[in-house]
């Protein structure tokens, strides 16, 4: 597998422009526009020296509801890895553009708390395409190391809507929703605030007007915000080392009122986000403790 | 009497601007006492040369006067303040801060040798710039004649040069006095320290006062009305300075008796009836005047102020005898006869006060006033001669020597005479009758038993005859 080292985080805005280009009919025939490949390229993108900046971290924590502790939220490392996702999806031989991809699942494993004064190296690769009931899916696999120790791993599963394999349709288990412990009011500008704090300026999150061309009536909140907000709600009960897995169900249009439910047991934590009025499922997640690595 | 016109003009914004530009003297509007006011409005700083003997007395006086006080870091001052119940803050010139003082009091009694006079420099150098306008500086020393050691005598005598010079350079309507406190008279400094710190001494500067052992301060003294229960006679009380004197003594609680010649009966009665006092229409030079007064004051008179006086100016070459004699009768001889009669008749009790009114002319002399100056120098002589005699009876005698005081008399002077008289002093202005009256009230105070034989000028430290 080829490895490319980036000296700094790639700028996301041009990546989005590039990511959107394949939506223009015929553009993907151009050599620098993604969409020309048949499968996800075998490429590893690495950012060797990732440091934290208190101001950005504070802004992120505030919009997600985290306390600004010395240990950074595990979802924040995803934010740092995200430009690599975009860069990889912007490769010319990437089979399709990033715009239009649906983030369906995210799993993060925090092997130990990461202090904001640490320096990490982050690498991202993509898995092979595999079929999905509604199209094709693939994983962006990210890994963060402090020195030689893997301290964090993240797997984001993206879906490319299209011709799928209906036999793969997941039957959601009929389990009782975890009991509601909080109601959150998501204001209309939340997508823009999170976009500012995370750098993910996907137009579907910004304004109704920019979301419409991409098939959404209203702007929707980032799935990773919703996940982060859940972890912030659970901050006092999260173990030092854990794996948090969420499925993004229906998008949350903005503004919205949603409920957060949680159930803490010896096996871990089960949590869910639902529409406050209709109960529409937005997110299902679990936290399980994993063996902690020493610092 | 209000301020003279010039002082009013240069204290107005445009007038002040012009005066500054053309280098005219800029007299400060002097603070003057209003009843009910505290002794000092502003902080008083106390300093001392090491091993002085007045720290306790100064602290007690200021504590009693409820003054806002700071002291230097000298441990003896801190201890004395604590003992006196004086809640004094600290002033250390090296500590900076925007400190301003209304009064500076320095106990120089510890200075026993000329080499120690540098203590004056050490205390006043950093503090004198911090004195507010109408500020008060009082240096306390030991009367040179009361010292035993020649070196100490020399050093204490030297203080006078310091205070007189500082008075001339301090400016801003501030005054500087030297008070010699004889050993044993420490507890009698109260009235003097209060007077010299208060706005009552607005026009007194560069003076030397001596406090010597005498009648103790009444324990129940009311400083707002120190003459309560006393009877005071003021001659020449119908107008001008005399009117101010009788008003001031009445303000201080005395039952007042005003005296003037029958020609001025109307004016006199207006004054005394306003003050709830008595009026005596009498020519003091008449033969029976002493007898009449002795008879009038059967139950005694505590305070006698010989204010009545006249001028009969003429150079000696043109001076006829009657012009000389009639003045001498009014200004001096009648006073002596009245004193004698009242004293012989035991009309003045212990604690009594006789106060004369001398004049700058009596000290420095004045052209065209040989008769007047002679009489006024005679008043000084009267004070000097009678003080030791009266001391035995618990009575004191002192005199004021006014300089240029704004009265109808001075207003009538030709401008070439008036203006130099008005301006040639440390205050750059004339005094007011009230300034003379306040000084007399200080001598009259029941607390002033330590003041005997003093002649204090009320002249704004006139440059003449200094």
């Amino acid at each position: 597998m080829a490895t490319r080292e980036l000296s700094g985080p790639p700028s996301i805005l041009p990546l989005y422009a590039k990511a959107a280009l394949p939506m223009i009919p015929g553009a993907s025939l151009l050599p620098f526009v993604p969409g020309s490949g048949k499968d996800v390229p075998e490429l590893e993108l690495v950012m060797p020296e990732v440091t934290f900046d208190a101001k950005s971290l504070a802004a992120y924590n505030r919009v997600c509801g985290f306390t600004l502790r010395d240990a950074v939220p595990s979802t924040y490392i995803h934010v740092l890895a995200f430009p690599l996702h975009m860069a990889l999806m912007g490769e010319p031989n990437f089979p399709f553009g990033a715009v239009g991809l649906v983030h369906v699942n995210n799993t993060i494993t925090q092997h130990r708390p990461v202090s904001m004064s640490e320096t990490l190296s982050i690498k991202v690769t993509a898995s092979k395409l595999r079929p999905h009931a509604k199209g094709k899916q693939f994983d962006m696999v990210a890994q963060a190391k402090a020195g030689r120790t893997i301290v964090w791993e993240g797997v984001s599963t993206y879906l490319r809507l299209g011709k799928g394999d209906p036999s793969l349709k997941v039957q959601h288990e009929k389990v009782e929703d975890p009991p509601v412990s909080a109601t959150w009011r998501l204001e209309g500008g939340l997508g823009r605030r999170y976009a500012g704090a995370s750098g993910d300026r996907n137009p579907i999150h910004l304004y109704d007007l920019t979301a419409k061309p991409l098939g959404f009536n209203k702007a929707i909140i980032h799935g990773m915000w919703t996940k982060a907000r859940c972890l912030a709600a659970l901050e006092s009960v999260l173990p030092d080392a854990y794996k948090v897995d969420v499925q993004f169900r229906k998008p949350i249009p903005l503004p919205s009122k949603v409920t957060f439910g949680e159930e803490i047991s010896k096996d871990g934590i089960r949590f869910a986000v639902r529409n406050a009025r209709k109960g529409t499922p937005h997110l299902d997640g679990t936290v399980v403790q994993v063996a902690a690595k020493k610092r | 009497m209000s301020q003279d016109l010039y002082t009013q003009i240069v204290n107005s914004p445009p007038g002040g601007f012009i005066a500054k530009r053309v280098g005219l003297p800029q007299p400060t509007t002097l603070d003057r006492y209003r009843p009910g006011q505290p002794v000092v409005t502003g902080q008083v700083l106390i300093g001392a040369a090491p091993s002085g003997r007045l720290a306790g007395a100064i602290a007690s006086t200021l504590a009693d006067a409820q003054a806002d006080v700071a002291t230097t870091l000298a441990p003896e001052l801190r201890t004395a303040s604590a003992d006196a119940g004086l809640d004094a803050s600290v002033f250390n010139p090296e500590a900076g801060g925007d400190r301003r003082f209304k009064g500076l009091v320095f106990d120089a009694t510890g200075i026993k040798d000329s080499t120690e006079l540098v203590e004056l420099q050490k205390f006043f150098h950093p503090s004198v710039r911090k004195v507010q306008s109408s500020g008060r500086v009082v240096v306390l020393g030991t009367p040179p004649e009361a010292t035993k050691d020649p070196r100490e005598h020399t050093a204490q005598r030297a203080l006078e040069g310091f205070t007189r010079s500082l008075g001339k350079e301090i400016g801003k309507g501030s005054t500087v006095q030297l008070v010699y406190v004889a050993p044993g008279a420490e507890n009698l400094i109260g009235s003097t320290l209060r007077f010299f710190l208060s706005p009552k001494s607005a026009y007194v500067s560069g003076q030397v006062a001596r406090v010597t052992p005498g009648e103790p301060v009444p324990t129940d003294i009311d400083w707002e009305r120190p003459l309560a229960g006393k009877t005071a006679l003021v001659t020449g009380a119908s107008r001008g300075i005399g009117e101010a004197i009788i008003e001031t003594l009445a303000r201080d609680g005395a039952s007042v008796v005003g005296l003037d010649v029958p020609q001025l009966a109307e004016d006199l009665n207006a004054v005394t009836s306003r003050l709830d006092g008595e009026a005596i229409e009498l020519d003091i030079t008449s033969d029976d005047a002493p007898k009449v007064l002795a008879a009038h004051f059967k139950s005694g008179v505590d305070i006698v102020v010989h204010n009545a006086g006249v001028t009969r100016d003429r150079t000696l070459a043109k001076m006829p005898e009657d012009r000389w004699s009639s003045l001498m009768e009014i200004n001096l001889s009648s006073e002596e006869r009245i004193n004698d009669a009242l004293l012989k008749g035991k009309r003045i009790p212990a604690g009594g006060r006789i106060i004369g009114v001398s004049s700058m002319a009596g000290i420095a002399g004045n052209r065209g006033q040989t008769n007047y100056a002679t009489s006024k120098a005679g008043v000084i002589g009267m004070v000097e001669s009678m003080a030791p005699v009266l001391a035995d009876r618990g009575i004191t005698i002192n005199a004021v020597a006014p300089g240029f005081i704004e009265t109808k008399m001075t207003a009538a002077m030709p401008i070439a005479v008036r203006e130099p008289g008005r301006r040639l002093n440390s205050m750059n202005q004339g005094g007011l009758p009230i300034d003379v009256a306040e000084t007399i009230a200080w001598f009259a105070s029941s607390a002033s038993g330590g003041l005997n034989g003093n002649v204090v000028r009320v002249c704004g430290q006139m440059l003449l005859g200094a």
């Binding site: 934290f52 208190a54 101001k55 971290l57 504070a58 802004a59 924590n61 505030r62 306390t67 600004l68 502790r69 010395d70 202090s115 904001m116 004064s117 901050e235 006092s236 | 700071a70 002291t71 870091l73 801190r78 201890t79 303040s81 604590a82 003992d83 119940g85 004086l86 809640d87 004094a88 803050s89 600290v90 002033f91 250390n92 090296e94 500590a95 900076g96 801060g97 925007d98 400190r99």
Partner: protein
């Protein structure tokens, strides 16, 4: 019924390094910093899941949104959520006052263990709406109809946009704390040289404390800071003499060096009954044996704004039956070097002790070699409410290392208040 009074143990403390205003903690809120300090304490003393008697903390500059600042921080922490909490605010006295509040409950047997602390940020200070604007908006809220509300809008003026910034100013005198202290310095005759000397000593002592590892178990790094940002050891009188005065006018003696800078930080202290600490195998560094708060009238009687500790001390000493000289360690909060020196001068002064304290003799002087031996606020910085916790934990540890002895804390606070307390080594007072 007279309740039995129990001894109150200081188990330990934790704080985050103190940062200068708008420095590394510029974007951290009070709750962030208090949480960080609390996290470290929980970790150090294994308090995860513990239900404590109470957690009491506070902040001087507090956002309206932080209605229950301490309680919310507890809920976000690893302590059991059943741990009650409340906020206290007494200006710079907050940290010590919270300690006293918790200690008293422990002493009376109402609780067995608790955490006291404080936090302040001058970077993330609460800006209030301009009062005029606030009034218009509140009126608008009271008016039911839109037309009425629109009419109200005509009252809006551009100047109303200017926010009301909380000033470090005494409401009744209009003077800042520094200006008040400059007056005190002048009234007590405190020289620039003496202030600068105390400042240098403070920095050198704190640096030495770090160097010998004294601070290792008193703080946890936060946002990249491992030592107090303000710490500048090795300064010289010559260097400090070059600084311009910042308070007291051009002749003033107070500079940016001999005054504490605006700071951000948080501190917490774990207090417990002896039984509670022993049952958990936790150390007892010292006992809190006495405390006193006093206030003065800086408005009408013109007492120095920061002189209240000078009043609190003799009351406490009398109750304890000891003298000012009976201490092995003195911790006098260095809000300003001048404040410390004024306090010491006052205790030595016959006038102050007689006239203001009503005592026949001065309290006397102290051995300054025993003063702020591990550095003070001038070096560490002074996030108002966090200072008390820093001092309590530091003094307790110093007494514990000595094995015996007695220490005293004196903290001045805005609005004319002062708090003092006595700590005794677990090994005994002497």
């Amino acid at each position: 019924m007279t309740p039995t009074v129990r001894r109150v143990a200081v188990v330990g403390g934790n704080r985050i390094p103190f940062a200068r205003s708008n420095g590394p903690y510029a974007h951290a809120s009070n709750s962030d910093m208090l949480a960080a300090a609390l996290d470290g304490l929980i970790e150090r003393y294994n308090l995860q899941g513990e239900t404590l008697g109470e957690v009491v903390a506070g902040a001087v500059l507090k956002h309206p949104r932080d209605r229950d600042l301490t309680r919310e921080v507890v809920l976000g922490s690893k302590l059991a959520p059943e741990t009650p909490a409340y906020d206290v605010q007494q200006a710079c006295g907050t940290g010590l006052e919270t300690t006293i509040a918790v200690a008293n409950k422990i002493a009376l047997g109402q609780i067995d263990a608790g955490i006291a602390g404080g936090v302040d940020t001058t970077s993330d200070a609460p800006l209030a709406l301009n009062d005029d604007l606030r009034e218009v908006l509140l009126d608008a809220n009271r008016i039911p109809d839109t037309a009425g509300r629109l009419k109200l809008l005509t009252r809006l003026r551009p100047g109303m946009i200017k926010p009301a910034i909380p000033a470090n100013q005494e409401p009744r005198t209009g003077l800042s704390m520094g200006e008040h202290c400059a007056i005190m310095a002048s009234e007590w005759g405190i020289t620039r040289e003496a202030q600068d000397e105390l400042t240098i000593r403070s920095h050198n002592a704190l640096a030495a404390a770090y160097d010998k590892g004294f601070q290792d178990d008193l703080l946890t790094p936060y946002l990249g800071l491992e030592r107090d940002q303000n710490l500048r050891p090795g300064s010289t009188p010559e260097k400090l003499a070059k600084l311009k005065p910042v308070f007291g006018g051009p002749e003033g003696t107070m500079t940016a060096a001999n005054s504490t800078p605006l700071s951000d930080g948080a501190s917490v202290v774990l207090l417990a009954s002896e039984e509670w600490a022993k049952a958990r195998n936790l150390p007892i560094l010292a006992y809190i044996t006495e405390a006193q708060t006093a206030a003065i009238d800086h408005v009408h009687k013109r007492e120095g704004l920061l002189m209240a500790p000078a009043y609190a001390m003799p009351t406490m000493l009398d109750r304890a039956g000891i003298t000012l000289q009976d201490f092995d360690v003195y911790e006098i909060h260095e809000a300003f070097a001048a404040q410390v020196l004024c306090t010491l001068a006052a205790w030595e002064d016959p006038v102050f002790c007689k006239e203001r304290l009503g005592r026949s003799a001065p309290l006397g002087s102290i051995d300054t070699e025993k003063l702020n031996i591990n550095g003070g606020s001038l070096a560490a910085g002074h996030p108002f409410a966090a200072t008390g916790g820093r001092i309590v934990a530091g003094l307790a540890k110093e007494l514990s290392e000595r094995g015996s002895g007695r220490g005293v804390i004196s903290i001045c606070a805005a609005a004319g208040q002062g708090v003092v307390a006595i700590l005794e080594s677990a090994g005994g007072a002497k």
